[in-house]
Symmetry: C2
Subunit: 276 residues, 2 copies
């Protein structure tokens, strides 16, 4: 199709709508409905099951904020795991940290990787880096089979429907804790506080039972519901709010700054209330 | 009409869409097209010239952030002017500050006041307070005729089209400076950094020529374009980032906190770049 408008209903009664110049690819994969489209406002975009995953224009926010907050919190991240994130954006940001020796991506749907490489090359480019191992497989199982292995784990999943449903369970966070080294850190995208307050409360509560340091931070992502996106960080030892000034080194970013690192944990009152 | 979807095109190629239970009022006023509707997601909403002005569910963000940031920055705000803001939400927040003896609202369109009182009573309620003077008139002219009078001026305008076009000019900021006392502060809503970066740059540059302290801060407003809204603050003496801890007193809010007061000035890198 060409020249139509695509609408994502973010709730039953509210959504975003955007002009699509043309559909680039559409496919029912083994796991989900995948769609790649060229939009007039946001550039090429990836949709899974009708939900916006990423766009060329605003992808930097999500990918920078998933990656740099935990990676600067950890004093020396060498071995990193990304669960999901088949578009490659988080991996691209991870590779900006010179301490990282190995980054593993476990994406359940190989088609996401394939079509991201094709239509979102500036996002997916890092996947071919020699420090990166790409595994097409089940992130939940990969976590369950790993022990004391990773410095940082990032969960870049879809919403808790379809293939990602296991990634929002206490069993999964427990597995993450085992897969992390003794001073490991994990981050998971946690949807938005306006429409999914119960989910945020549940995730915070579950993660708190397992990690001594649990914090929520947010970022503005215009193509995601409400424009305010939440991330849950669980840490065994290092507090993201106590990062030594000298730990921050210069990296090229469009959203993240070391000042924003701290400010992103300062929550609007109604969001803060969800975490207590 | 009943049971239809309303779409606001926030740019040529992108918009939000929402289910409208019923239209409450629609009128071509002397200045603009006014529409009040009951929406399924956001409660009652006010639209001017097809743009979302406010909704019952998310109005607290905008109104708290316009009012409390300058009012806590000023050590003793007594005389306050709100230009625009006929829905009354900023006035409601202003009245939470016990130091305020007088609050003047100058709204050009009396119909906005009339229908806000009718359909958004919990927003407009403060307009009947005895400390409040409501003037239906031209804010630009009111500013031009005032001198050394106000502690804080808030510009709660529509976009720089239609009746608000004069409120985005250097002449207006100059008039505001004259209307303020020697340690006065003003705040103006400044649209959003994703789609209106040129406007933000222009406003920052203009205000910097007139006020020794000029700063940009942001808040998340889901029904406004991109979900990230910017506010420009100009101050003759008091720095919003150097508010004495004891200055903050407890007020009831849903978004603003004293920690967020400071954090809201910490900008994403691409937004910070617009201010330099």
């Amino acid at each position: 199709m060409a020249g139509f408008w695509f609408t994502e209903k973010q709730t039953e009664n509210f959504g975003i709508t955007m002009k699509v110049n043309k559909t680039l690819h559409t496919e029912k994969t083994e796991f989900q409905h995948l769609e790649m489209a060229e939009t007039a406002e946001w550039g090429n975009m990836l949709f899974l099951d009708g939900m916006v995953m990423t766009s060329q224009r605003d992808e930097f926010v999500y990918h920078e904020m998933v990656a740099h907050v935990p990676l600067f919190t950890h004093p020396n991240p060498e071995n990193v795991l990304v669960v999901g994130g088949g578009d490659g954006g988080v991996i691209r940001e991870v590779l900006k940290h010179p301490s990282v020796k190995k980054a593993t991506l476990v994406e359940i749907d190989g088609k996401v990787i394939e079509y991201s490489k094709k239509f979102l090359p500036e996002i997916a480019g890092g996947l071919d880096d020699e420090r990166v191992e790409v595994i097409v497989g089940d992130g939940f199982m990969h976590i369950a089979e790993s022990e004391n292995e990773f410095d940082v784990i990032m969960v870049d999943s879809t919403e808790p429907v379809g293939p990602a449903v296991n990634l929002f369970t206490k069993g999964f966070y427990s597995g993450i804790s085992n897969a992390l080294k003794e001073d490991g850190i994990f981050v998971a995208q946690s949807d938005n506080p306006w429409f999914k307050s119960d989910l945020i409360k549940q995730v915070m509560s579950d993660v708190k039972e397992i990690f001594p340091i649990t914090r929520l931070y947010t970022a503005n992502i215009p193509t995601y519901p409400s424009g305010l996106w939440a991330f849950t960080l669980g840490s065994k030892k290092h507090d993201p709010l106590k990062v030594a000034e000298e730990r921050f080194h210069d990296i090229e970013t469009k959203y993240y700054t070391k000042e924003l690192h701290n400010a992103s944990f300062v929550l609007p009152k109604f969001v803060k209330d969800l975490t207590e």
